[in-house]
């Protein structure tokens, strides 16, 4: 992974980016029935984490802000004629995983709307892609930061 999104973002926006990533991961994993099972919701002040509707709203809000930030970043990169290709290997991986996550997430957002029934197989593939890309991002990011620290 690239250590920073690029010089296009100011330091506060970089912190905001990391905060959004955390919110997305937390609320996203919270969509699986694991927070109550594995005691996380037992931590004082975190009982709300077991409420799927609360974590769903957090996921939507964080996703909207994340998409806004991505668009902001991409336009600034485009203005500098640095939009493509990604700068290095980790940036390629990050771009790919974000792309997969955003595409599959968009399918799931459509699924949540009334009056739209997507093919069951397509939904299953989308859910697995969404979860898989998030898991992979967390694992690769953790590995990258660990290697970078050495």
């Amino acid at each position: 992974m690239s250590r920073q999104p690029s010089g296009a973002l100011s330091r506060p926006l970089k912190y905001f980016y990391m905060l959004l990533l955390f919110a997305l991961m937390f609320s996203g994993f919270g969509q699986m029935p694991i927070f109550k099972r594995y005691y996380l919701a037992d931590i004082p002040g975190l009982a709300w984490a077991a409420d799927f509707y609360i974590t769903l709203v957090i996921h939507y809000v964080a996703a909207a802000l994340f998409l806004g930030l991505i668009a902001y970043y991409l336009v600034l990169r485009a203005a500098k004629k640095e939009l493509w290709p990604p700068r290095n290997g980790p940036a390629w991986v990050r771009t790919g995983l974000f792309g997969l996550s955003i595409l599959s997430g968009s399918v799931l957002v459509l699924r949540n709307l009334p009056g739209l029934n997507l093919p069951p197989g397509f939904i299953v593939v989308s859910t697995l892609t969404h979860i898989g890309s998030a898991f992979l991002f967390v694992i690769l990011a953790a590995t990258y930061f660990r290697l970078a620290r050495k």
Binding site: G7, S10, R11, Q31, M32, P33, I34, R37, Y38, Y39, F52, Y53, L56, V57, Y60, V61, A63, A64, L65, L67, G68, L69, I70, A71, Y72, Y73, L74, V75, L76, A79, V109, R111, N112, L113, P114, G115, N117, P120, I123, V124, S126, T127, L128, I131
Partner: protein, 331 residues
């Protein structure tokens, strides 16, 4: 026991006769033809229900092939507080929803025109128009079909029971010791398969009526395109000076009850609890997600607009751009 057997035999015979009638060309309602397209809804006229439970037994008989056969002993779960839910030794329970009993009849003692009356309410999945169980299933095991049925695929379901938690009526019921979780991380993730009414989707696909509708001696239920069913429900409610439940609950469902007494009274009179759904008011569970979809579309546009504004500002004031770069270099 003999009585039970006789009753079961009668129901099986009646269903077989109905099937034979269909095969010999007696016209079935065209609305249940799978090729019709559009959502099908059911209307349940509670003024007709006598609580005979023929629908309950027909449901059990017709859907016997879908019922779970768990491995024994059921593997222990981790952590220990994760409950194993095993109904395999209580398959004959019919006074609540279970993985083996997808339809049951609630009883409410209420006053109609000053007279104590018993009202019977067949309860099963409401088949919501925008079902949170299907929307929020983390693996896509629950899904809504074009014909308005919400179904859970037992081959994909891990039994986490999220669907039960997000369902306003807590309808789906779990059987542990069965399903794909046994082949993945048995004790760590999942806990069986969730079961509920699938409104006899296979029979509907074949142009046949769901078993509970076909067997009912009092013709309590009517099935048809949702618009027609809603219109019928309103007409019937007007006729009996009655009340409607299910049309707008949870944003709209495909199960419309018509009752001669207010549902608030029925809700007070029925026994509620696990596997025994309420009849209270329900707001649209997916409303917030539906509303926030607009934010997901608008946010990238806003982000792009902000960036363009910044670029424009920097182009007007190159000195600020240089200072920006210097500041960033010093960070």
């Amino acid at each position: 026991m003999l009585k039970d057997l006789n009753r079961r035999s009668f129901i099986k015979g009646a269903l077989a006769a109905a099937g034979a009638a269909a095969a010999t060309g007696v016209p079935l309602p065209r609305v249940v033809k799978g090729s019709q397209g559009g959502e099908l809804a059911t209307m349940l006229d509670l003024s007709k229900c006598i609580g005979c439970e023929a629908c309950v037994e027909a449901c059990q008989d017709v859907n016997a092939k879908y019922k779970p056969e768990p491995v024994k002993p059921i593997p222990k779960m981790y952590p220990k507080r994760v409950p194993i839910e095993d109904w395999s030794d209580r398959r004959d329970v019919t006074d609540r929803l279970t993985p083996y009993n997808w339809l049951y009849v609630q009883r409410a003692e209420v006053k109609i025109d000053g007279e104590e009356t018993e009202v019977f309410i067949p309860r099963r999945c409401m088949h919501c128009q925008n079902p949170p169980c299907a929307d929020l299933c983390p693996f896509g095991a629950a899904r809504k079909m074009d014909n308005g049925i919400t179904n859970i695929d037992p081959d994909i379901c891990l039994g986490g029971a999220k669907c039960r938690q997000v369902c306003p009526w807590n309808i789906p019921q779990r059987q542990s010791g069965v399903g794909i979780y046994l082949d993945i991380a048995t004790s760590l993730a999942g806990n069986g398969v969730m079961y509920k009414c699938h409104r006899c989707y296979e029979r509907i696909g074949e142009g046949r009526l769901p078993a509970c509708i076909e067997i009912c001696p009092e013709k309590v239920q009517t099935i048809g395109p949702r618009e027609e069913i809603v219109a019928k429900a309103h007409a019937r409610a007007k006729e009996i000076n009655g009340y409607i439940y299910g049309e707008n609950e949870n944003g709209g469902t495909n199960t419309i009850y018509v009752s001669p007494v207010p549902f608030s009274e029925l809700n007070k009179a029925i026994e509620k609890g696990k596997g025994k759904p309420h009849l209270g008011p329900v707001a649209n569970s997916m409303a917030q997600a539906e509303n926030l979809t607009a934010a997901l579309v608008l946010a990238p546009l806003a982000g792009a607009a902000l960036a363009l504004g910044k670029i424009r500002k920097l182009m007007k004031d190159p000195a600020a751009d240089r200072k920006n770069k210097e500041d960033r270099a010093n960070e």
